[in-house]
């Protein structure tokens, strides 16, 4: 079991405010890890540290062999190994779905037009949106846009995928289609780290759950901890999320 993501004693502050205190955990290949917690607990921050969207003040983060706190880290290479899906989709509005997906493989990985087209069709098939190839993002529903965003990250063939509260901006009846795509990805063996409020999904799919509170890893374990929380704070959190 190789660790794809290794985090040790990570600290981060914004000015005088401490966001992360000594965060340490590990994600193995093929694992699905759900990071949960209240807003302000640092869960989104720690996720964004994993692909260097945020920097850390002290500690170590190693992702897919890249040492993130080293000044010589190759960001481009890192981002080819780590994909991310955002809460607000962030699709490129001036490009069609197919162009959104094929852009990065073509220009960052130098794939030929034919190769890129094949990759695009494959990932669109996986998220069940092949027929929307030539549509523009504004013509799609929120759930469809998020699935395209997932496809866009998948097209880069990453080793790890990060999901930053990807269903929080969706109407409730649209979250199902996105969650089922994510479940398929998990079953296919993708290493996934998700910040989420979807407790049922975490229970069902996560191999490891990390509960963050006030910038610390408060409690962690298998998804069983959601059923039998050990700490008072997690008990409160799970109770409030029901």
């Amino acid at each position: 079991m190789s660790a794809l993501v290794r985090m040790h004693n990570v600290d981060k502050s914004y000015g005088k405010v401490r966001i992360l205190h000594g965060v340490s955990f590990q994600v193995n290949k093929g694992q699905v890890v759900a990071i949960i917690g209240k807003s302000g607990s640092g869960k989104s921050t720690i996720l964004r540290c994993m692909n260097r969207l945020e920097t850390i003040d002290s500690g170590e983060i190693e992702v897919c062999g890249h040492l993130l706190n080293s000044p010589k880290v190759n960001l481009n290479a890192l981002r080819r190994d780590v994909g991310i899906v955002f809460q607000s989709f962030n699709l490129f509005p001036h490009l069609t779905v197919a162009e959104n997906i094929s852009l990065a493989p073509r220009i960052a990985k130098n794939k030929s037009k034919e190769e890129a087209l094949k990759i695009t069709q494959t990932v669109l098939q996986r998220v069940d949106l092949l027929e929307k190839s030539n549509a523009y993002p504004e013509q799609l529903s929120g759930g469809q846009q998020q699935r395209v965003a997932i496809a866009r990250s998948l097209a880069m063939e990453p080793q790890v995928m990060l999901f930053d509260e990807v269903t929080s901006a969706l109407d409730p009846y649209l979250t199902g289609e996105v969650l089922s795509v994510m479940e398929q990805l998990a079953l296919g063996g993708m290493t996934m780290i998700l910040v989420t409020h979807e407790m049922a999904f975490a229970r069902k799919v996560a191999d490891q759950v990390v509960f963050m509170h006030e910038g610390r890893v408060w409690e962690t374990g298998s998804s069983e901890i959601l059923n039998c929380p050990q700490t008072h704070e997690l008990k409160q959190f799970v109770g409030s999320e029901l």
């Binding site: 692909n51 969207l53 960001l75 481009n76 290479a77 981002r79 080819r80 780590v82 994909g83 991310i84 955002f86 607000s88 962030n90 699709l91 490129f92 509005p93 001036h94 490009l95 069609t96 852009l103 990065a104 220009i107 960052a108 990985k109 523009y136 504004e138 013509q139 965003a149 866009r152 990250s153 880069m156």
Partner: protein, 227 residues
Amino acid sequence: MTYKFEFADVIVRLPLFLDGVWLTCQLAVIATLLGFIIGTLCAIGRRGSNVGLARACGFYVEITRNTPLLVQMLIVYFGLASIGLKIPAYLAAIAALVINVGAYTCEIMRAGMDSIHPGQIEAAECLALTRAQVYWHVILRPAAERVYPALTSQFVLLMLASSIASQISVEELTAVANRVQSETYRSFETYAIAALMYLFLSYVMRLGFWIFGQMVFTRRRKVGTPM
């Protein structure tokens, strides 16, 4: 009023007018292309992390936008000649026009680029695109589409402003009108015809820009909504 309108003398000189129109078009097209490139580079410079470059671009924009084009042309043509840099009037006019429209384009493009949602830039960077690739594929085209009406108006104004080149003896439309006027003494008719020609040119320019926009901004053509 004892003045009688007589267009005959002026109409006979129409070929001269058309020569002037041709030169005006040259000035407008060349200055538009070069000015857009310089303005866009300047906007990128102003947004960059190099403080010295950002400030230099800022100075360029402020100085150019707060001084008249006529003075800028006089400096480029007469001023530089006096220190040994003799430039032909045609090139001096283009240089002054490019410097002038570059400053305005910089501000327009900067507004367009600033309006791109930072989330998209983040997403592009997370797809392993380099800074240059992000600018080209994710920032510049949507920014240009958003500010396209403002750019169009700016370049039409540029074409009209090329009339000032007549003051450094470039034989564009206004200079031709001056010459015809001095030969025929039909001042009102001459300048009225010149005005109508400029009006026609401005419509043609707007049409041209519209067609170009429809070709380049495929999303707008297919979906129809503004950016």
